[in-house]
């Protein structure tokens, strides 16, 4: 009897749990969770396992649970336990862990570390950047070089705190400069507050524009086993309007590709991630064992370009593809542990998928307002529609009721042949997810729609033309300026 301990309490972990429980080896599932995720709880109990409720980010709590349940594998869902050394603690106990060691997980934790790694190893898809340890230096830089930039917390801060400013109109630069400086201050005082595990504080990157997509894969440190591509949608509201969220829903196409990404681009994307995994080993002497995802963008400068790395599945992106996985999860975990991932054949059900996230009103800006509402989810009715619900930020109360935790309540998954049809099917589930006190629940109706898809295809075609033109001119990955008095400046290395 194989016993697996899963760490994490979101919809992504619910999807991982579900995939583990599909194994023909009927593993016993255990979980460490901060909240009682009803879906994960149910799977654990049905498989004969158990749960430990407590600080799911604390390596000590996790390893005590692993010891108490005497598990064979630990699968760490979210990034924060990895940053805190959960994988190191587990492996030091002699238990195989699916999840990167702290040193390797730095590829997600520190955006400055990631960029330096890519530049040092000359890996394609890298962006120009400056990292700042001091707020004053960052502001001085912003004032001097007011242009189109992305300003980010140097550390992964729960996906929050990134501001991308297109600054093309000189007549609006002053206002945008003000917002950039204010945002740098907010990064220091709000988003980076309490994080002492990193020296760099603020990262300023060149701004790029293009369609985004996520390439997720398992790795044992030597080879990679990729999943079908997924595309997430970050704006809170329909038509890509509204503030940034952790993701409001995502799509995947039939087969490995998205309708707007070519085979060549997919392979280039996988290769970039693979090269980064190898670069980590070369620099740190650590083999990356777990899940690694490239948050990619098709850009004029490179074609496939790294925006960020995840040391985990994306959420919601993982929820699109984990249900399609046909290869036995226990077999995959064994292969990762023994460094034989290249022998595993990754097989997926041939289907397109849509995931839509349902969030309480107030998310993402006012989680205080969004939290604490009793919520009802009719999972049977959703299943009857041919969809599946994965529970997110909800806590199961002792009386059996559920309460919102402030983030996305749940994610509804469906698969099929045709994205707009799948999207419509999920739309019909929306009455089944509601707050029982009348508080609003919202989701994006347009994810998977033909209109949104056409927009992405149009945008990709445009960007593809540009990067191919630049490729033809030998301009990939570089930019040439001519500055009076200084002459020609080639920005290809930095």
């Amino acid at each position: 009897m194989v016993k697996v301990l899963l760490v994490g309490e979101g919809a992504r972990e619910h999807a991982i749990a579900s995939a583990i429980c599909r194994s023909t080896q009927s593993p016993r599932l255990y979980a460490v969770m901060r909240l009682r995720n009803p879906g994960i709880l149910d799977l654990c109990l049905k498989s004969g396992g158990d749960v430990a409720i407590g600080d799911s980010m604390d390596p000590g709590f996790i390893s005590r649970a692993a010891e108490r349940f005497s598990v064979d594998f630990v699968f760490i869902g979210p990034e924060e336990p990895l940053f805190r050394g959960a994988a190191n603690a587990i492996e030091d106990m002699g238990i195989p862990c699916i999840g990167a060691r702290r040193e390797a997980a730095e590829i997600e934790m520190s955006k400055a570390f990631m960029r330096r790694l890519m530049w040092r190893h000359k890996i394609p898809g890298r962006l120009r950047f400056q990292a700042f340890k001091d707020l004053g230096d960052a502001i001085a830089y912003i004032e001097e070089y007011a242009e189109s930039v992305a300003i980010k917390p140097a550390r992964q801060a729960g996906g929050k705190g990134v501001k991308v400013i297109a600054d093309f109109q000189a007549y609006l630069s002053k206002e945008k400069g003000h917002v950039k400086a204010e945002h740098a201050k907010a990064i220091e005082s709000k988003y980076m507050r309490g994080y002492t595990d990193i020296e760099d504080r603020i990262l300023i990157e060149e701004r790029v524009e293009g369609p985004e997509y996520t390439v997720q894969m398992f790795t044992d440190g030597d080879s990679v086993a990729p999943f079908p591509l997924v595309q997430d949608n970050k704006n809170a509201y329909d038509m890509d309007i509204g503030p940034e969220t952790g993701g409001m829903g995502s799509i995947s196409g039939k087969g490995m590709l998205l309708p707007f990404i070519t085979q060549e681009e997919y392979e280039a994307s996988v290769d970039i991630v693979r090269r980064c995994v190898k670069a980590l080993e070369a620099d740190l002497g650590v083999k990356y064992k777990g899940v690694i995802s490239g948050q990619m963008m098709l850009t004029p400068i490179w074609g496939p370009t790294i925006i960020e790395f995840y040391s985990r599945f994306g959420d919601p992106e993982g929820v699109n593809v984990l249900p399609l996985l046909r290869t036995d999860m226990v077999e995959i975990m064994e292969a990762i542990a023994s460094g034989k991932l290249h022998k595993v054949k990754m097989e997926f059900e041939e289907a397109a998928t849509v995931v839509k996230c349902f969030a309480p009103r107030g998310y993402p800006e006012r989680r205080d307002l969004a939290a604490g509402h009793p919520v009802g989810i009719d999972a049977d009715a959703i299943r009857a529609m041919g969809c599946e619900v994965f529970y997110g930020s909800v806590d199961l109360a002792p009386d059996g009721g559920m309460v919102t935790g402030g983030s996305r309540i749940c994610e509804v998954f469906a698969k099929g042949d045709d994205l707009p049809e799948i999207s419509d099917r999920i739309e019909r589930c929306s009455p089944f997810i509601r707050c029982l006190d009348g508080w609003g629940v919202f989701h994006r109706s347009d994810i998977g729609s033909a209109a949104l898809l056409n927009r992405r295809i149009e945008q990709s075609n445009l960007i593809r033309e540009v990067y191919r033109y630049r490729m033809g001119k030998g301009l990939i990955g570089m930019e040439i300026d001519w500055i009076p008095g200084k002459g020609k400046i080639v920005h290809s290395d930095w």
């Binding site: 297109a166 093309f168 109109q169 007549y171 970050k234 509204g242 503030p243 006012r366 609003g440």
Partner: protein, 444 residues
């Protein structure tokens, strides 16, 4: 008619006044007599209203004083009526709000009086009404109550002291209105998409007729408030809108190019040497006419001073000054030539006559064949476009041949109504063609 815009920042660090200012500059063609901006700074509504053009009326000091990450603005073709300029309109109680409006709010006066609200002009009455109704509960129900009484020809954007922004497009959709977005930073609604372009925002969609958007600090909701009865204004495509705008899903530029093609197929001029446009609306008509007929296009006129919309100036004298300043002819483009002169509209015929006479009598054009990219304008517009009385509309009284003689053209042709409808490419039933036909979607 007016130009209106509303911007809703998702981050309180934004200062939106300057974005609104540039957005209004992009909408300046929709109203050049007065302008105003109102913003919300988290505590209260601020407002600055001025007479004249946006870039002259607003300076650094005004923009700096207009704090806040949410705001609306309006440019208006009507000069302030006696009192100080006051658009966007303000209502103070029960709920403080500012309101920008495009189209006809005439019925708001009656609705306001019935509720015992004092109101000066229709737009002020609409602000007072909305203030009253919004104070009483659900915002969408409030909009629904008002929209029912307003008639379908009014668009508005309102900003409340609760930090909400409401955008509504009347169910007839006569006036255009679009929604867009800038990254994760702000949402935008505006009369035309060119205003979004100028401030770097991306056009997402037209508001459907009868549709309302409600922006709050933690949500954007869209609701169909009234059943759509689209009657999109055809004159927007001929003259009113900017060619870089996309309205009702149709590129204004493409429509104007098709109008030029229609003019060519309806009324080509055998043996003409050159095609010239009266700047600047008619330029795409002339380019397409030239492309379709193979007759070379030339540049016939240079404008002096700022871009002025001569047809919407309030007085005859100002219209004449506008036209004369706009049209300094280039002698070499027309002397000794048989010219096709293309213009966007003929209302009274006076400006066309002046132009043709100058071309022939002073510049030495051999022939002047006038082609107009608009069908005959024979009737007034009840929806806020300044069209003179029927008595003053030459097209309502004379045949093409007679007009040709009045303006002293060799030949004269108005675009056919069918030609315009085909050029726009929307079903006839979804267009308001009132100024060309005298038939309106609503009783006057």
């Amino acid at each position: 008619m007016a130009g209106i815009i509303g911007l809703y920042g998702y981050d309180t660090a934004w200062k939106m006044a300057r974005f609104i200012y540039y957005g209004l500059m992009a909408l300046q063609h929709r109203g050049q007599e007065s302008c105003g901006i109102s913003t919300y700074d988290g505590e209260r509504l601020l407002r600055e209203c001025r007479a004249g053009m946006v870039d002259q009326a607003f300076g650094e000091a005004e923009l700096e004083a207009l704090r806040g990450w949410i705001g609306i603005g309006q440019v208006d073709p009507e000069p302030p009526n006696g009192g100080p300029p006051a658009k966007p309109s303000f209502a103070k109680c029960p709920l403080g709000l500012a309101l920008a409006c495009d189209g006809s709010a005439a019925r708001a006066l009656k609705a306001a009086r019935e509720r015992g609200l004092s109101a000066g002009d229709p737009q002020g009455a609409l602000a007072a009404l909305l203030s009253r109704e919004l104070a009483n509960g659900d915002p969408f129900e409030a909009i629904e109550r008002i929209a029912g009484e307003l008639g379908g020809a009014c668009n508005f954007i309102a900003l409340t002291e609760r930090g909400e922004m409401i955008a509504y497009r009347g169910e007839l959709g006569i006036k255009p209105m679009v929604i867009g977005n800038f990254g994760f930073d702000y949402g935008a609604v505006a009369s035309e998409s060119c205003a979004l372009d100028v401030i770097g925002a991306e056009l997402k969609a037209d508001l459907s007729p009868g549709e309302a958007y409600l922006f709050t600090p933690w949500s954007i909701e869209r609701r169909k408030v009234r059943e759509a009865r689209p009657r999109y204004c055809a004159f927007e495509y001929v003259y009113l809108a900017r060619p870089d705008s996309i309205i009702n899903g149709k590129s204004v530029y493409e429509v104007r190019m098709r109008i030029g093609e229609k003019l060519a197929s309806e009324s080509d001029v055998e043996g003409a040497d050159s095609v010239l446009a009266v700047p600047e609306t008619a330029i795409p008509f002339a380019m397409a006419f030239s492309n379709a007929t193979g007759k070379p296009i030339g540049m016939g006129f240079v404008q002096t001073g700022r871009r002025v919309r001569s047809a919407i100036r309030p007085t005859q004298f100002e219209r004449l000054v506008g036209v004369q300043l706009k049209l300094n002819p280039i002698r070499a483009a027309m002397a000794g030539k048989r010219v096709v002169l293309i213009d966007d509209s003929v209302v009274r015929g006076t400006t066309t006559k002046n132009t043709v006479k100058v071309m022939r009598n002073r510049m030495g054009a051999k022939e002047v064949h006038v082609r107009i990219g608009s069908p005959r304008i024979i009737s007034q517009c009840p929806f806020g476009i300044e069209v003179p009385d029927r008595d003053e509309l030459i097209a309502a009284h004379l045949s093409e041949e007679e007009v040709g003689k009045v303006v002293e053209a060799d030949t004269f042709h108005w675009l056919s109504l069918e030609g315009l409808i085909e050029a726009i490419g929307l079903p006839r039933g979804s267009l308001c063609l009132g100024c060309f036909t005298g038939e309106y979607p609503e009783a006057l």
